[in-house]
């Protein structure tokens, strides 16, 4: 061993140029981490103003128009600039080459281009939203967006169009890397489930995003030239817009949640010291969700005037998605059963994910039922449902993953006490924010209004109180994670004693990832068998 400081990807070069022109997937992941965190707090800020307005039944903080802009900006920022890129662009970028034993992604320069497209599209959209506003919601429904809205529709959709190419290039890069650059011996069915999830997500991105791109382009054409592609007054069909939009945007739900499912599989196995229960079914369920996700977009359009028979088919197909989703939840639970469980922070987030995703998924079945959906369409029930999936699912998984791989990414441990505390705060804050919204929606409070009848106030006050706790809960990890960069304990290559190739290289990893290309001889999650004491029922 030489005594000099070893070269890792963080100290391999200094100065802005070594970061802004890097092609190292690990450095690009850090660029994404910083920019995504920025957009997350921007989007969260919009949400906090909305919750503040909803503290009282009457309008007191913002006008109706400003409120329309706030929920549009919140949705656009959170979906396109945080949730869609979050796990793939940060953790996926960092981990896909490490987990498959490769030196980098297949196309490193394309990867850097993805980040530039992301940051350019993001800033472009943010400036457009803040200067001219946007009041269409994140769904841009025509003909309001093409004929009536006076806000900055064209610049905003242009920014999202640019961002779409960033997603597509990342997805393309992952697909090729996973197909062609696995280490010797790393067969498809030895891959960690995180890689399966990234792969399925990439396939969805590559197939769905172009449809959104062309749909937004057509919307732009209609708005600029005043021709009737989607505007019924000019012979166009507004339902066509909705079909094309949801053909992307329903699969996009799985773009957001599948990567979290991959993360949770890693967390559950590591902290229960067990192989995943039913590996083949878990991998198959990921692919099944990705495939079925393309066949259910019409359940967003039950009350929009599409054919009743189409509605029935979409309803039935939506129920099918519950099957692979439930397989995953049961298998995580079965993995924990008789495991040697240690309650570290990442596992707390995984528990949060499993519980909240289950509630989000089951309420999704309410919405997939034609008759129930009519009652709760455009109410807070829908808002609560998708926040249980998006925040309770996707964000919990993202934070769990950030905590789990933080020692690998930075080489430092964070403060476990603070981390557990904030995981708890987030869980409480989240449920207090969104559970009352299920009740509000069921009682009939419509979404997207800045005023409401006084009888809804108690539940709204609870929700706003929860949002405040949630906001604080997000600031705590932000603080102690940054703190850990200087003060955290040295992590060592494998602080969790986890399996997986990413733990077989130093933390932080060297620029080329592995000194020697690893050769894989066993499946993922090859934890040694748990010894049980004779005469007792399992446990150890």
């Amino acid at each position: 061993m030489n005594t000099e400081q070893t070269v890792d990807y963080l100290n391999a070069g200094y100065g802005p140029k070594s970061w802004l022109l890097t092609t190292d997937h690990k450095r690009i992941a850090i660029l994404y981490l910083i920019s995504i965190t920025f957009f997350f707090f921007v989007g969260g800020f919009f949400a906090l103003i909305m919750r503040l307005e909803l503290l009282t039944p009457q309008a007191d903080v913002v006008s109706a128009h400003t409120y329309n802009e706030l929920f549009s900006m919140h949705g656009i920022t959170m979906i396109f600039f945080f949730l869609v890129p979050s796990i793939p662009a940060v953790l996926g970028n960092f981990l896909v080459p490490l987990m498959i034993g490769a030196r980098d992604l297949a196309f490193p320069r394309l990867n850097l281009l993805s980040w530039y497209l992301y940051i350019f599209g993001g800033i472009f959209t943010l400036v457009a939203m803040l200067t001219g506003g946007i009041d269409t919601g994140w769904t841009f429904y025509t003909p309001f967006s093409s004929a009536y809205s006076t806000t900055n529709v064209i610049p905003v959709v242009t920014g999202i169009f640019i961002l779409g190419f960033s997603s597509i290039l990342t997805g393309l890069n992952f697909i090729v890397t996973i197909h062609k650059m696995r280490a010797p011996g790393l067969t498809w069915f030895r891959l960690p489930l995180f890689i399966w999830a990234q792969y399925a997500t990439s396939v969805i991105i590559v197939l769905a995003t172009p449809v959104l791109a062309i749909t937004l382009a057509l919307l732009g054409v209609e708005r600029i030239f005043r021709v009737g592609i989607f505007d019924p007054a000019l012979g166009g069909d507004p339902l066509l817009f909705q079909h094309l939009f949801w053909f992307y945007s329903h699969p996009a739900v799985y773009i957001m949640v599948l990567p979290s499912m991959g993360v949770v599989s890693e967390l559950v196995t590591c902290f229960s010291r067990k192989r995943i229960f039913g590996y083949y079914f878990m991998a198959g369920a990921i692919m099944a969700i990705a495939a079925l996700g393309f066949l259910v977009w019409g359940h967003h359009m039950f009350v929009s005037g599409q054919s009743v028979y189409a509605g029935m088919v979409f309803s039935a197909l939506s129920y099918f998605v519950a099957v692979p989703s439930a397989v995953k939840v049961f298998n995580w639970t079965a993995t924990l059963y008789k495991g040697n469980i240690s309650f570290h922070t990442p596992l707390l987030y995984a528990f949060g994910f499993i519980g909240l995703f289950t509630i989000g998924g089951l309420t999704g079945l309410f919405l997939a039922a034609l008759a129930v959906d009519v009652h709760v369409t455009d109410t807070y029930f829908v808002v609560a449902h998708f926040h249980y999936i998006m925040v309770g699912g996707a964000v919990m998984g993202y934070l769990g993953g950030i905590h789990y791989w933080w020692p690998k990414i930075t080489g430092r441990m964070y403060n476990e006490g603070w981390a557990k505390f904030s995981a708890l705060i987030l869980f409480v804050g989240f449920n207090l924010t969104f559970f009352p919204q299920f009740i509000l929606g069921y009682l009939g409070m419509p979404r997207r209004y800045h005023v409401y009848p006084p009888e809804f106030q108690v539940l709204n006050v609870l929700s706003t109180a929860g949002a405040t706790i949630l906001g604080v809960g997000y600031l705590i990890p932000f603080t102690y994670l940054i703190w850990s960069l200087r003060k955290g304990k040295q992590a060592g290559p494998n602080p969790w004693n986890a399996t997986g190739l990413e733990w077989k290289t130093p933390s932080p990893p060297p620029p080329h990832n592995f000194d020697k290309v690893p050769i894989v001889t066993e499946g993922a999650y090859a934890y040694p068998p748990i010894l049980t004491t004779e005469g007792t029922h399992g446990g150890s």
Binding site: R103, L172, I175, M181, L207, V211, I224, V227, I229
Partner: protein, 217 residues
């Protein structure tokens, strides 16, 4: 590092040039899949409106210049041939033939774009540009306008793809003239060729759908 038989240099993330070639090729196929979905949404929109307004679409397609469109179809098919010959030349290390076929391809691509430009200028002269200057004399002008906006969007995006293709071919011709390609390393020519063929195939669908539907009606 393991010593590989192939002498061609490869990017640092790959084990050898063979792996790099396979990755390049798969990358382009995945990209083309994206492109299919991209144009697919346009073809779907076209299908829906043609189904809704068949007479208006057939009547409006009378205003297309079948002759110029036909010439353009031949031009593009010819360019696909020159691309294949370019790939063949690259694989056999024939530098001069490679550069020549790439230049032929560029010329044919530019010829297509020029003819398309002439057609567009005719449409302006005939006041058939939706949103800018649209005075349609035939039946159902509102529905015909949808036909024309789809015509401009679909052929416009196609022309943009071709323009990008011409740019790629220009870069490749420049690099080929410096002898950067050979039997060991021709993936850029091959995958750019795939892209070129894709743009060609899109036109094979666009031509009958936009120019020839009144013949069928």
């Amino acid at each position: 590092m393991v010593d590989h038989s192939s002498a061609a240099p490869h990017a640092h993330q790959f084990d050898d040039i063979q792996q790099q070639h396979e990755a390049d090729s798969l990358g382009m196929w995945v990209f083309l899949t994206t492109e299919i979905l991209f144009f697919g949404a346009l073809f779907l929109s076209y299908g829906i409106y043609r189904h809704a307004y068949p007479e208006a679409f057939a009547a409006a397609s009378h205003f297309m210049d079948v002759i110029l469109g036909g010439i353009n179809t031949a031009v593009l098919l010819g360019s696909s041939l020159t691309v294949v010959l370019a790939v063949h030349a690259a694989q056999h290390g024939e530098r001069k033939r490679l550069v020549m076929f790439l230049i032929f391809t560029i010329i044919l691509g530019l010829a297509f774009l020029s003819i398309k430009g002439v057609e567009y200028s005719h449409k302006f002269a005939e006041h058939l540009v939706p949103g800018v200057d649209f005075q349609y004399k035939g039946p159902q002008p509102g529905h015909a306008e949808i036909y024309f906006i789809l015509y401009f969007v679909m052929t416009g995006i196609h022309a943009l793809h071709l323009l990008i293709g011409v740019g790629i071919m220009t870069v490749l011709a420049f690099r080929a003239s410096k002898n950067r390609f050979g039997p060991d390393y021709f993936a850029p020519i091959e995958v750019s060729g795939l892209y070129w063929h894709f743009v060609d195939i899109v036109w094979i669908f666009l031509y009958p759908m936009l120019y020839l539907i009144h013949v069928y009606h």
